[in-house]
């Protein structure tokens, strides 16, 4: 399948951002937005995200990669990974502008990019899927006990959040500890979630523990021996293959 690569410049609150879309000749109506983790720009460590696009696009999956404010080729001052909601929203807007037939967005992120993706997902009804690689759950160490019961008092019934649907009341309370925000976000998110973990990554292990303690509903795959960034052709290819198959499976 022919792929057209589009280099883009668009804006987030007046700041110029740079991105790239790989547009397949016959695009699937579900597109992937890569949110890079830090500090890494849209190419990814060892060109991970560039190479991922090259596997997904020939299978009909459009892929957009971009630099949020203060990162890579984009303007602006560097920002924390939990302060890029507006950047992700601007990227999705541009993605849909470039590909008007796109119906659904899957956000794909690694490390704190995965964390940013999970925090963003319940705030945007266009996001129907998440692929989270070794998400960063903060440096607080072990998570004690299930978080959900004590959380309900803080932000109301989960059913309420789900009913609000396309116009949620906002992101999860940012004053909560990061692991609680992640669990709350994933619980409120009514799309599909795939978690990919590196078998040799401590950050991935910590996240797996968090999911188990809170019985969060998502598909989980561990890639044996892989490190935090999946830094080898073998691991990278496996990640891309699993991602591609999963994205078109629901």
């Amino acid at each position: 399948m022919n792929i057209e690569q589009r280099a883009l410049q668009f804006h987030c609150q007046g700041t110029s951002l740079v991105g790239i879309i790989d547009v397949p000749e016959r695009p699937h109506q579900r597109g992937v937005l890569v949110v890079s983790g830090g500090p890494q720009y849209r190419v990814g460590s060892h060109r991970h995200y560039t190479l991922l696009s090259r596997l997904l696009a020939p299978r009909g999956i459009p892929v957009m990669r971009f630099d949020y404010r203060g990162m890579g080729d984009s303007e602006g001052e560097p920002r924390a990974f939990d302060a890029i909601d507006e950047d992700i929203r601007a990227a999705i807007k541009e993605f849909l502008l470039q590909m008007p037939d796109l119906r659904e967005i899957v956000i794909w992120g690694l490390g704190d990019g995965a964390t940013a993706a999970s925090l963003y997902a319940p705030t945007d009804a266009r996001v129907r899927g998440l692929v989270l690689l070794n998400p960063w759950a903060g440096s607080d160490g072990a998570i004690t006990g299930p978080l959900i019961p004590q959380l309900l008092a803080r932000f109301g019934e989960i059913g309420f959040w789900k009913k609000v649907g396309s116009r949620p009341a906002g992101a999860i309370d940012a004053s909560l500890p990061l692991p609680q925000r992640i669990v709350a976000s994933l619980t409120c998110f009514d799309g599909a979630t795939l978690v990919l973990l590196g078998g040799a990554d401590a950050i991935g292990h910590q996240f797996a523990e968090l999911l188990e303690k809170n019985q969060t509903d998502c598909r989980r795959v561990t890639i044996a021996g892989a490190n935090h960034t999946f830094a080898s052709r073998e691991w990278r290819d496996e990640v891309a293959e699993i991602s591609a198959n999963w994205i078109v499976s629901w």
Partner: protein
């Protein structure tokens, strides 16, 4: 309301056809309200150092553009957003890419042409300039020996292996080099380095390059051995003077922004570079 819109110079990202495939580039047009000063072609570093230094390259490119320079950043074959696999990249192919980029940039900016290279990009810029003379060269923390660059690169694999060692893993750069010769390539932190590329890089030494007769500005952090660095600069200045080039060595105190885990910004380097080139046009 009626004031002219002097917006900051904006970047133009694009793909262009090259042989083979396509290359990703960023063009920073010179600021419209200042006198044009010519063109600067940026040459990026090797492997993951390209990623880590992306922000610094972007910040300085914008500063150059606001001074009136037309700046082009190109991702070489097998690097960044350009086509190709890293293991298919070759030194000669990179030199050809630079020739293509230079021709594109010269069409847009008829003034003087300068090269600006960071780390291994500095050495590549020097090698390119020996074949395609330019009006000036800017070196940021350059490798002066290709072999040093490859050894530093291989050492990253040793560090990664130490964390997650397999029984048969090589323990020295010499052993990694032997493995590379045996298999034709070696994987280092997700990058497959092909033997022909490693051999070509190994063979490049800054002091042996027949640089064009032009000013060469070398910006480097003095740490950790300022005396040794100054001695290298003196040696290079002498060797390059024979070709009519003038070396200006600018030692500065700054963070190793190209290395893992450090800060991605080095204001001292941006300021020193900008001050040098702002003054050069007076």
């Amino acid at each position: 309301m009626n004031a002219p819109l002097f917006s900051a110079p904006r970047v133009e990202p694009f793909f262009f056809d090259a042989d083979p495939g396509t290359r990703f580039s960023l063009y920073h047009a010179p600021a419209p309200h200042v006198a044009p000063r010519g063109a600067i072609l940026y040459v990026h570093p090797f492997a993951e150092e390209l990623n880590r230094t992306r922000r610094m390259a972007s910040l300085q490119a914008r500063r150059f553009a606001s001074m009136g320079y037309a700046v082009l950043q190109i991702d070489l074959f097998g690097c960044g957003d350009s086509c190709g696999d890293f293991n298919a990249a070759r030194w000669d192919l990179w030199l050809r890419d630079l020739a293509t980029a230079r021709a594109w940039l010269a069409e847009r900016s008829p003034g003087p042409m300068q090269l600006w290279g960071l780390r291994l990009g500095g050495l590549l810029a020097l090698d390119f300039a020996a074949r395609s003379p330019v009006d000036g060269i800017i070196l940021w923390q350059p490798f002066l020996s290709g072999r040093t660059c490859i050894n530093q690169f291989l050492r990253q694999r040793l560090v990664a292996d130490a964390r997650n060692a397999g029984p048969g893993d090589p323990h020295t750069t010499a052993a990694l080099r032997a493995a590379m010769v045996a298999r034709g390539q070696v994987e280092v932190c997700g990058y497959e380095l092909a033997l022909p590329l490693a051999q070509a890089i190994d063979a490049v030494e800054a002091i042996a390059i027949a640089v064009p007769p032009c000013p060469i500005h070398w910006f480097a952090s003095g740490a950790p051995a300022p005396a040794r660095l100054a001695a290298s600069a003196a040696q290079l200045a002498q060797a390059w003077a024979a070709h009519g080039a003038t070396l200006h060595f600018h030692a500065l105190a700054g963070e190793p922004f190209w290395s893992d885990g450090g800060s991605s910004e080095c204001t001292a380097l941006l300021d020193a570079t900008s001050a040098t080139f702002a003054a050069a046009a007076q």
